[in-house]
Every structure is written in structure tokens, then in C-alpha cells.
């Protein structure tokens, strides 16, 4: 949705279609990024449960990476990743 709607075309009463958060990219808020190391991952899904932005990508029942378009870099995944695995580490976001 590139063209912003004027007041005459806008749905009344602040109404949006469902599921619009998917199209609203919030990744540019990030100052540090989680880096996923698939070799260390034990597929415990603790990061997936804890991610507040649903940014852990799961494919065919396996964690495969991070959705950087929506990840805000909160670091919860890295913090919650079991210490023995340490499959996710935080790095400073490059400008």
C-alpha cells in the first residue's frame, strides 16, 4: 500500500483487514541482530515459543532461520536458547 488514502476513501472507525502485521515491516527498528547457527541447534523450539514477533522461521517442523523483516532484535531468543546449545548469538546491527 504505497499510496496513502485520503479521509474520504479511508474505512470509517480505524478498521483494518486482519493479518496486516505481516505486511508491516518492523525489522529496521533493530540495533542488534540474532544470528542463528543451524549446526548447534537442538530443535527445542524454545526460541520459537518465546519470540514476541513470531520471527523464528519454521519449515517442515524445523527451525531454519530468522525473519529479519520483523525481528526487532530484542534478544529474547538468544537469552532463552539453552546454554549447552547456544545456537543463537546477538551481534551489533551493521549500518
Amino acid at each position: 500500500m504505497d499510496k496513502k488514502l485520503g479521509w474520504k476513501e479511508l474505512p470509517e472507525g480505524d478498521i483494518l483487514e486482519a493479518g496486516t502485521a505481516k505486511n508491516f515491516k518492523t525489522g529496521d527498528w533493530r540495533s542488534s541482530r540474532p544470528v542463528y547457527n543451524p549446526e548447534k541447534c537442538i530443535q527445542c523450539f524454545i526460541c520459537w515459543i518465546n519470540c514476541p514477533d513470531s520471527s523464528i522461521i519454521v519449515k517442515d517442523g524445523k527451525v531454519v532461520g530468522i525473519d529479519y523483516e520483523h525481528c526487532k532484535g530484542c534478544g529474547i531468543c538468544a537469552k532463552e536458547c539453552p546454554p549447552k546449545a547456544s545456537a543463537i548469538t546477538m551481534e551489533a546491527e551493521k549500518k
Binding site: L5, L10, E12, G13, D14, L16, T20
Partner: protein, 390 residues
Amino acid sequence: MKTIKTGNEAMAEAMRQINPDVVAAYPITPATEIVMIFSQFVADGLVDTEYIAVESEHSAMSACIGASAAGARVMTSTSSQGLALMYEMLYIAAGLRLPIVIAEVNRALSSPINIHGDHSDTMGARDSGWIQLFSENSQEAYDNIIQAVKIAETAKLPVMVTTDGFIISHCTEVIEMVSDDEVKKFVGAYKPARFLLDIKNPYTLGAIDLQDYYFEHKRQEAEAMRNAGKIILDVAADFDKKFGRKYEFFEKYKLDDAEIAVVCMGSASGTTKVVVDELRSKGIKAGLLKLRVFRPFPYNEIIKELSSVNALAVLDRSDTFSAYSGPLFTEITSSLYTSLNSKLLTLNYIYGLGGRDISTEQIKSVFDDLAKISQTKKVENLINYIGVRE
């Protein structure tokens, strides 16, 4: 059907006949009776309303907003501090364009603590985006509530219908009630275009708007209020056609050829009518403009009606503490000024705060002042307080 009802009973009966889907309320004096009577209707199975007992008025309005967004026809009732506790949610109801109806009994705001009637609570909510209808007596309160449901749902704006605390809310009057069936037919079934419980068409209501869309939504709301005027008149015309009682933005009482006139709202207009009759019998051309619709404010229509008047008194049952005037006065005078009828001599009287009575003698003294001003063409005191001890 002619029957005897207090203002509160009249509003509760109207609510019973409308049979809303949800009523969420936290009773407060002098509006307590409305939900007390209504909850008895619920208990007796006379309505199939879901009655939600909440722990504050803030929650009452929140529950109303949730229920209304979910697709229900929703009503509540409140007064004074209760309405004040709803203020935050009033803006949300209006901003989300939810057609909620409040039976609001006017009462003073603290401090000092007072439970009696004046308009300060409703006036505090005047910029919240709610349509405001004022009632002179039980009959009008009853009729306004029935019309309010249709107005709200057509305009997609919430409506509050007011009566003066105790003066109307607790005084019995003979009123003409419409049959249950006729009310049911008049308000019809509520079919919202979109509602949250419609699981086949999921949507987001009330998302964050920020700089890029908030302004456009508020512009829509302003337009909705502008359009509400015609809707109010259409519903009133329909009401008149079906039940034979005429309503407009205001009632003109012997105003057409009046040289001196009073503008006021609520129960004081009944008292003013008595004085106008008395003055007319003496050949004095006095008149009254009783305002029914305060929001949207009928600027253009009011100006037209005042074209023959030489001197005008605006009676306010609340003060703004702006170091200037009451709220009704600023609305009236700004309409006159922008219409270039700024030559009409106008002055303000603040009266009846905290439920203090206004007598026919006091209103007569207002007309005396007007007669004098009309002759001298000079307003000495712009802002006056009647009935306050010096």
C-alpha cells in the same frame, strides 16, 4: 398510552421497549434508578439483554465499546462523576464510530461534593464526539432515547440523552408512551456492516494510527458529526409521522416575532415558557429558543431564528471557568459573530449550579434586563450569575 412516570422511569421504560443486546452499567445518583429498574426488567425476563455489572463507569463504557464492536446494540446510563470517569472511553467510542446510547442524568461535578442537577458533566463531554440531546421533561427524555438508537446507528456515532438530575429524573409527570411493538418497529433490528464476532470476515478495529492516518480519521469523525444534523432531523420527522410528536434541533416558543428572547436547555425551558406567556399577556414580545441538540451544534439554524430579536440572554447551567462565560454562550455568540449578526445584543446568565432552583421571578428579571438593553442598546454586564448570593 398515557401513564405517570419520573424521568428515570421513562428512560428505563424506553430501554425496555428497545430491548438492547447489552447494557453495562455502574449505577450512580441520580441515574441509579434507570439501571435499577432496567436490571429488574432483565431479572423478570421482560428483555433479553445481557446485563453486565461492572466495577466502575470506566469499565462500564469499556464493556459497552467491546460489546458494540462485537456487533451488539448497546446502552448504558450514568451521571456526573460517572460520566467523568467515562471521558477517556467516550472518545474511543466516538473514534471507533460505535453507536452506543447513554441515558445521562445531568448532575454537578465535584468539588465541593454535590449530587444535584446542573449541566457541567455533559458539558465536559461536549468535545468527545458524542451527539448530545437535551430533554425538557420526562416525555422528551423518553422520546429522545427512542430516537437516539436510530440516530446513533445511522450516523455511526454514539449519542447521549440527558435529563436534569432530580428536577426531571425524580419528578413524576404524565407521559404518553408508545406501545412496545411500535417502538420495536421504529428502532428496527440492528445490522452492523462489520462486527468483530463475524468470524468469516475477520478485521482489526482500533489499530494504532500515528501521523499517517489519525488526522484523516478525525476528519471523517468531524464530517460524521456535520452529517448527523440531517440524520437527527430525518429520525425526528419519522418519529413525528408515526407518533405525532414533533422534534427539531430546538423548539421555538413564541419566537417568530419576539424582540427579546432567552436561549436555554433542559428543565429551565419549562419555567421560561411560563414567564414568556405572562409577558406576552402584557403585550411584551418575549420568546424562547429551547435547544434540544447541543452536539452537533446547529449554528446556521439558530442564527436564522434570531433575526428579529433585539436582545438575547443565554442561560447556562454550567460554567467553564475560562474567566469568560458559560459554554452555551460562547457557541451562540460565535455563531452570531461569524454570521455577521454581531449587532444582536447578547448576554450570559449562569444559573442553577448544583441543583439550585431557578424561579419564574428570576427569569422575569432576565427579561427585564433584556427590555432595558433593548432600549439603551448597551450591555453593561456581559456575564451574570443569577440566584447566587452576593
